[in-house]
Amino acid sequence: MTTRAVLILGARSDMALAIAHRFGKAGHPIQLAARDAQSLAAERDDIALRYNVEVTLHEFDALDTARFAGFVDGLPVLPHIAVCAVGYMGAQAENQTDPDAATRVLRSNFEGPALILAELANRFEARGSGTLVGISSVAGDRGRATNYVYGSAKAGFTAFLSGLRNRLAKEGVHVITVLPGFVATKMTEDMDLPEKLTAQPEEVAEAIQRAVTSGRNVIYVRRIWWLIMLIIRNIPEAVFKKMKI
């Protein structure tokens, strides 16, 4: 049993809930933050009952950046571990023609996640401890025609996490970048994903918990993705631009 609270931002997603279960099972109090937080009451009760831990719900809108400071002030305690699972893919076809749609994707995957972690980072730094976990994406490793709006926002987020880690390394605050690869969730349920490359949400959660315990910096959930992205990043641009991947 531990009293170190874990905050989960964007708690409604399958991945976020799997993470909440994982840390709840390890005995951590859980803070679930999402829009319309009360609608997560059944999830709250489930996690609290299963693991005999305290679970609280907190209203949080990743696009409402002006309220971030107030949101953190409103938490029962400043968490020791904060996981940002906020993300929104949108549809690339719409994102490349409709600036409002693109803005929403860019803000949901970069601006919101970066700024809330920045807010938490400053407080963790003042305290001198804590772990920040940002769930970014392999889509941010190289822009591709099929989802570069989402991918570029994730690239920004990955870079932000890298900088944050560099800044806080000496301050006792650890930053983890998670690159899940394909994950079988509601967001991807209509896609035809290759089984060997697709992780279950529980696998992501397990990988994150291990990374927190062992102090890893950047993790690919399934190792194969490290190799795949190494290859993709190293394809010469002259070739890459003509490829369909």
């Binding site: 059944a42 999830e43 009760d45 489930d46 009952l49 299963r50 693991y51 005999n52």
Partner: protein, 393 residues
């Protein structure tokens, strides 16, 4: 739903509430038995009735109205279900219990999922002082002695026997009868008393590959059974066993089903009425050892009296066996069907994968009423399974 789709309930698995004083857990039915144990054993509660694996859902345990080693004293799973919520074909959800909407409750508990979708349930857990079972192991020399041991152990909370189904002649029906009680704090050695709900996590073994089916023959099974029985006679007496090893020995071996070879295995489980049990068991064991197609896992259990509209248990003896699938064992199982019918027994639908619709009707006069229930509210067209189609339910 259709020939290629089934209703998948595993993700419908949230726990809703738990009452610390009554032990009543309310949960969605995709919750696993293993989850319930993980969450509540550390707080002093255990499943009131459990099948031989913990990898089953709450809904599945209700639909099959499963029984455990305590059936002779506590009855089946349904006895501990305060209420269930059932979604019927029109999408309406009805809460039912032994008192309210009792007919729907009674048909659904043991109704193999064919009356509607069981969404939520309230289950009364059993308070326990420790996570340990005080086991008493009694080897018996033949069927007569085995049955006498069961009859003498009516007071025991748990009773079950591993039976050597290949032994013949004077040794026919020799068994290892295992009685069990939930251990109290005083039963534990002193160092364990401070953490009575903690047991060592067992290493998981796994069957890494599928051996050729010929490895499972009369000779290997006979040899295994003799060794297993001999080992049991050496370990006779009382000892402490952790809950996982006692209730779920096979769960510790991943992919254990592989030992039956590529074609897999079929299960057979029947129950015989008390007065026909001795003769019936003798005939069943005779047919099995004659065919030489035994299995490692043959389990005999005394059942208590029970009345529910379509549940399996009845007062008497139940015999459960696994056979590797082959034309020969399928023929043997048909022979076992006939012996069961001749002795007024019936069959456990949760284990069945090969019985004929005709056998079911001949074994169980309740089938006609169950069919009428199925025909009401168009259940028959809304909910079907491969089994319901084979058995024309």
């Amino acid at each position: 739903v259709s020939e290629t789709n089934t209703v998948h309930m595993r993700h419908f698995n949230r726990m809703i509430s738990f009452n610390d004083s009554t032990g009543v857990l309310v949960a969605e039915t995709g919750v696993l038995a293993a989850d319930i144990i993980d969450s509540f054993l550390p707080r002093g509660w255990f499943l009131p009735v459990t099948p031989g694996t913990k990898f089953v859902t709450l809904g599945g345990m209700i639909a099959a109205d499963v029984h455990g080693k305590n059936h002779h004293v506590d009855g089946s799973f349904g006895n501990f279900v305060d209420w269930i919520e059932v979604m019927e074909p029109d999408g309406s959800v009805t809460r039912c219990s032994a008192r309210k909407n009792a007919a729907l409750f009674d048909w659904t508990v043991g109704g193999m999922g064919l009356t509607g979708v069981i969404l939520r349930a309230a289950l009364r857990l059993r308070p326990v002082d420790t996570a340990w079972i005080r086991q008493n192991l009694q080897p018996t020399a033949d069927l007569e002695e085995t049955i006498d041991a069961f009859e003498a152990a009516q007071e025991a909370t748990y009773s079950v026997a591993w039976i050597d189904c290949l032994s013949r002649g004077a040794q026919q029906g020799r068994s290892l009868v295992m009685l069990g009680e939930h251990a109290t704090l005083e039963d534990l050695p002193k160092p364990r008393r401070r953490r009575p709900y903690e047991t060592r996590r067992k290493r998981k073994l796994s069957v890494p590959l599928t051996p050729p089916a010929v490895l499972m023959n009369g000779l290997t099974v006979r040899t295994f059974n003799s060794l297993y029985y001999w080992n049991g006679t050496r370990n006779a007496g009382t000892g402490l066993v952790d809950w996982d090893s006692y209730f779920y020995p096979l769960d510790a071996i991943l992919n254990w089903n592989r030992i039956y070879g590529r074609r897999g295995f079929a299960q057979f489980q029947c129950v015989l009425p008390l007065d026909a049990s001795r003769a019936g068991l003798q005939a069943l064991l005779g047919a099995i050892s004659q065919a030489g197609a035994g299995s490692f896992l043959a389990v005999l259990k005394r059942m208590g009296p029970q009345q529910r509209r379509f549940s399996f248990p009845m007062e008497g003896y139940t015999l459960a066996l696994d056979f590797p699938v082959s034309p020969r064992t399928l023929r043997l199982m048909e022979r076992l069907d006939d012996i069961t019918l001749a002795h007024g027994g019936r069959f456990y639908l949760a284990k069945d994968s090969r019985m004929s619709a005709d056998t079911l009707r001949r074994s169980d006069p309740r089938t006609e009423d169950f069919l009428k229930m199925r025909q009401s509210k168009a259940r028959q067209t809304a909910f079907a399974s491969a089994q319901s189609e084979r058995l024309a339910l």
